[in-house]
């Protein structure tokens, strides 16, 4: 069981800010999780349609698509940052 957070337009497309998920063990990295989430519905498919526009953090550290998610408690997806 892990918590997934969505920010900015990913949250708007998916329709929730936070949810608990329990992906199967073969979903073991960020890229596999994106594929698994994409299959959850049209909002997810729209949010993850262009992977180049999506960034990820695993337990509040920036993570690349090949980053392992085993044991992670908090995973976040968001667009490239635009602060400052």
């Amino acid at each position: 069981m892990m918590q997934v957070l969505y920010f900015a337009w990913l949250r708007e497309k998916i329709g929730v800010a936070v949810e608990n998920i329990a992906p199967p063990p073969e979903v073991d990295n960020v890229a596999a999780l994106v594929d698994w989430l994409r299959a959850r519905g049209p909002g997810y498919a729209a949010a993850f349609a262009d992977e180049k526009l999506v960034r990820c953090a695993v337990d509040q550290e920036f993570a690349t698509p090949d980053a392992a998610i085993a044991g992670a408690t908090e995973i976040a997806f968001f667009p490239p940052v635009t602060g400052g």
Partner: protein, 147 residues
């Protein structure tokens, strides 16, 4: 060294923040203030962040600046929530014995803040439309100059 990282909805008092950086041994204080640009038709910016991770990421950037320049103080205050044109968005300040470190660290902090801290801006227009601001390649290039 004094490190101050604040994420808040409220405005900041730039004068008070500069005074706070006038620490013993300081010979120069560099600062930058980002303001909501009044580009035609903009009603407000909505600034979103990732509570917890944003504070960690900004602190990490400030620590990198402190490792790179002999700073005596560093301050980053970033506002979130609803911000109207003309309002302050961000305050960055760096204090050192000499101006070069203070000015360079200030530029480093704002360049890295733009590309490496989880904040997102949405523009709400007077027309009723709204759009998330896209990341700029120019910001990425500016940050990479420091690598």
């Amino acid at each position: 060294m004094m490190l101050r990282v604040v994420i808040q909805e409220a405005d900041f008092d730039a004068g008070a923040e500069l005074a706070r950086l006038n620490l013993p041994g300081v010979g120069g204080v560099g600062s930058f203030i980002g303001v909501v640009r009044d580009s035609g038709g903009l009603k407000a910016l909505q600034l979103e962040h990732y509570p917890g991770m944003t504070e960690r990421a900004v602190t990490k950037i400030a620590e990198q600046a402190a490792a790179r320049w002999p700073l005596l103080g560093g301050t980053v205050i970033h506002r979130v929530g609803h911000l109207a044109p003309g309002e302050n968005i961000v305050f960055v300040g760096a204090a050192s014995a000499h101006r070069e470190a203070a000015l360079q660290a200030t530029a480093f902090l704002i360049d890295w803040l733009k590309t490496s801290a989880p904040f997102w801006k949405r523009e709400d227009f007077c027309s009723g439309e709204s759009a998330w601001v896209l990341a700029r390649d120019a910001d990425e290039a500016a940050a990479k100059l420091w690598v």
